[in-house]
């Protein structure tokens, strides 16, 4: 069963993330802009991004999901959020071995 939170769709998440990044970095990224090419991301900022996504969207990002490609752009992060929310919505939690 999937109960869709009306606030959680790709366009909505992207919009929120663009606002978040604009506030933190002073530059508004385009949805597909490569954030790492633009030099906007340090380890500390990467950590802030991870924690922000976890808190804001009630997800856990661990292990291989922490790859840079999942955070490379607003679009990639939005896809990650929706994917993790979906898998949690199925009531299955994959345990790490």
């Amino acid at each position: 069963m999937t109960t869709m939170n009306p606030g959680i769709d790709a366009a909505g998440v992207e919009k929120q993330l663009i606002a978040f990044l604009a506030e933190r970095t002073g530059a508004e990224p385009a949805p597909e802009q490569d954030l790492f090419d633009a030099g906007l991301v340090s380890s500390m900022f990467a950590m802030q991004l991870v924690v922000h996504l976890e808190d804001e969207y009630d997800i856990e990002i661990v292990g291989p999901e922490l790859s840079m490609d999942n955070f490379r752009s607003v679009r990639a992060m939005s896809a990650l959020v929706l994917r993790l929310r979906d898998s949690e919505g199925e009531g299955e939690s994959d345990r790490e071995i």
Binding site: A38, L40, S42, S43, M44, M47, V50, S67
Partner: protein, 366 residues
Amino acid sequence: MSDEPTLVKCLVWDLDNTLWRGTLLEDPEVDLPEEIRRTIVELDARGILQSVASKNDHDHAWERLEALGIAEYFVLPQIGWHAKSQSVKEIAGQLNFAMKTIAFIDDQPAERAEVTHHHGEVRCYDAEQATALTGLPEFSPAAVTVDAARRRSMYQAGFRRTAERESFSGPDEEFLRSLELVMEIAPADEENLSRVEELTLRTSQMNATGVHYSDADLRALLADPEHEVLTVTLTDRFGPHGAVGVLLLGYHEQFWHLKLLATSCRVVSFGAGSVLLNWLISEAARAGVHLAADFRRTDRNRMMDIAYRFAGFTDDSCDCLATLDDDSAADRAGIEFRHLVAEPRPAPTTMRVAATALTPARGASA
């Protein structure tokens, strides 16, 4: 190695009847006992930062500290009328220090209790103990280094950087470029080894394994052709940041084993960790080897986990790891590998890296 006492990184002083004799509001000429002055100077020389949490009028109290000739010793002074627990929190937060590395000294039991109530890990001392602090192990770093003696001025330069950063409206990368950062990576020698030990003792957030290597451990590895100990220093136009990182590398035929990577939390926001990792990855690519980094989760090092993952390290297995001999494979208590097939990385755009090329002693290990 893990029995070392947690060193105090910042001591927060009350003023009235603790630092100086008397109460400023009643006696504008409060004086500073000579043995307190000596304690402040000695702690400063040991690299322990000092701050102030005092309920007083800010300008009035600061003027008195200046008149006594000791104002320069204090970073982030909190002088006002708010709760001391709040002052301690502000100081720890701005320094990015864990509460367990903060100490607080006050003559009032109620003030100490108030701080303890909110921050149970902060170590509190009665004013009567002030002159005995320098004899306590938590105020006695094993090694007092060049950097330790300069730590306060490095932090003060750091606050000036932050102020400049806040007034800087362009994107981060432009700001970093404006700092003219130079990262120097060099083999450790006898002289800078003590800095390395201090760094592994002091950094918990950015230590990939939480394992502390002692001076003796690292000294033994200096002479070992199968190991490389590297120290990292950073400089910018405001001055030196000192030793900000340490790497311990074990050379193997098919892969390099990154056993220790610790960087100072002072330079995290400059992206120093990823610059360092990318440099190492390029070196490994040039030598045609894989990289395997030790990683053990602690409650403070998630940033390192993310830094390795973002740099492309995975927990996938690889044939190269099977070549690690039994001796090194044993005793890995909870330490995992993060593995990477190295390919050349582009040079950083935010700083210049000055490093000597790594030249493993070929055939040193099977």
